[in-house]
Symmetry: none
Subunit: 213 residues, 2 copies
DNA sequence: GTTGACATGGTAATAATTATCAAATACAAA
DNA sequence: TTTGTATTTGATAATTATTACCATGTCAAC
C-alpha cells in the first residue's frame, strides 16, 4: 500500500473534529460557518478541499442526498438517513433488525454493484410544528393555501390509498356528493396537492402529504 | 377567482412524449439536446420550466440521485434505480419479490415518513469494458512518459486552435467529463506539453506539438 | 540551510439551475 | 370566429454550489 501523504494540518484537524462532534451532516458552507469561530482566517476553499481529501482518504463520508448540496458525515459505521422535504435537514435513522440487511437486486442489468443506499424522506419534527402553527394562523394571504374540511378529508383518504383513486372510491370513504368531490379534487389539483396520473384517477402528492401533516 | 390551469403546449407535449419514449432518465440538458432535433427553436429554460411543472403535476418524476444534476423519469410506477459511479448513467433496477416491500424504520426520530428510496450504485457494463481496455493499454510506470488517449485527443484539439482554449472549448470537441479534461490538462501542463497563458485558458507548447507529431 | 512536495487564503471560473421580461400563444368567453 | 387575457415562451441575466488557480506559506527530508 502506498503511504498516505496527507499531512494533518491544523485546519484539517479542526474540520475533522468538528464533523465528528455532531450527527448533523453539515454542508461545506455550514461547517465553514461553525469553524470560522475557531479559525476566523480559514478559507471556504480550504473547507471544501479538505472535505474532499478526508472523504477520499476514508476518514469521513460524503453524502449526496436530497438536492444539490453535498453533506458530510463523521460517522463511518454503516447506517442510513432520513431527510426533511421542507427544510432539507438530514438525520440518521435506525432500521432495527434490518440494519445490516444487504439488499441484492434480482437482476443487476449488467452492473457490477458495489453498494446500496436506503433513504427515507418526510417531514421533520420542527417543520411539523411550523405547519401546525401556519394552519392555526389562517392569514388572508395564506387563504389560498388553507384547506377546508372537505379538502382535508379527501386528502386524508387519498393518503391512505396505495393506488390512484376515482371519485367513487373517495365517495365511499367521505360522505359527500360526487359533484362536490370532483370539484374539490380540481381545486386540490390546482394547488398541487393531488395529481392525476390517469384520467379521472387521483393520488396525493408530496406537497399534499405535508399539507395534512 | 384565480385560474391556474396548465396548458398543454406543443413544447410541453413533446417533452412529455420524449421522456416517456425511453427509460434513460435524462437530465434537462440531455433532453434539450434530443428535443432540439424536433423543435430547433426551443429554449433550455423551457425544458427546465416544463420538467418542473410536469413533475409538480405528477405527470413525471424528478430523480435527485448521484450528484448535482437532476434527472427525470417518465415511468410513474414505483421502482428503484442503479447508477454508475464512473459515468453517472442511471438505470431502472428490478428488486424481484421485494419490489413492493415498504421499508419502515424502527424509530423515525420524530419524522413523519412519507417515503423511502432505494439506490444501488456500481460500475455499468460500458465502464467495465473501458476499464479493462485501460488496464491492457499500459503500465502505471510508463504513464509518466506516454500519453493516454484522452491526453492525445486534448493535445490534438489544442493544436487545431489558434487561440488559447478553456476546458469548455475542449469539451465541445472531446467527449469527456469536464473534471477529466481539467485533470488531464494539469498532467499535460506538468509534462510541459500545454501552457496556460491566462487563468483557465490553455494552449499547446512546442513540446506538446512534437508529442503528437 | 536548501529543496520540493504539499497546503492555504483569496479569488476567478465553471456548472446547473432559477429568475426576469418582452413578445407570442392558447383557450375560454363573447 | 373573434377577442381578451392569463399563461407560456425564448433569450438572457442572476444565483448557487463547487472547483480551479496561483502566489505564498509550511514542514520534513536531504
Ligand atoms: Mn449519518
Ligand atoms: Mn426509472
Ligand atoms: Zn424540516
Ligand atoms: Zn458507466
Amino acid at each position: 500500500m502506498i503511504k498516505n501523504q496527507m499531512r494533518m494540518t491544523h485546519q484539517r484537524d479542526i474540520i475533522l473534529r468538528q464533523l465528528r462532534k455532531s450527527t448533523a451532516h453539515p454542508t461545506a458552507d455550514e461547517l465553514y460557518e461553525q469553524i470560522k469561530k475557531k479559525l476566523p482566517r480559514i478559507s471556504l476553499a480550504t473547507v471544501y478541499r479538505n472535505l474532499e481529501i478526508l472523504s477520499t482518504a476514508g476518514l469521513i463520508k460524503k453524502l449526496e442526498i436530497s438536492g444539490r448540496r453535498k453533506r458530510f458525515d463523521g460517522e463511518l459505521r454503516r447506517h442510513h438517513h432520513v431527510y426533511c422535504l421542507l427544510c432539507h435537514r438530514v438525520d440518521n435513522i435506525d432500521l432495527g433488525q434490518e440494519e445490516n440487511f444487504q439488499f441484492l437486486p434480482a437482476k443487476a442489468g449488467g452492473y457490477r454493484i458495489t453498494g446500496c443506499r436506503i433513504e427515507f424522506f418526510g417531514i421533520c419534527p420542527d417543520c411539523k410544528k411550523k405547519l401546525k402553527e401556519t394552519k392555526k394562523m389562517g392569514c388572508k394571504k395564506c387563504g389560498n393555501e388553507t384547506l377546508n374540511d372537505q379538502q382535508q378529508q379527501i386528502l386524508k383518504t387519498l393518503a391512505q390509498s396505495a393506488t390512484a383513486c376515482g371519485s367513487k372510491d373517495i365517495a365511499a370513504a367521505v360522505k359527500l356528493e360526487p359533484k362536490q368531490i370532483s370539484s374539490q379534487l380540481t381545486t386540490l389539483k390546482k394547488k398541487g396537492y393531488v395529481a392525476s396520473p390517469v384520467r379521472c384517477k387521483y393520488e396525493i402528492t408530496e406537497a399534499g402529504k405535508s399539507a395534512i401533516a
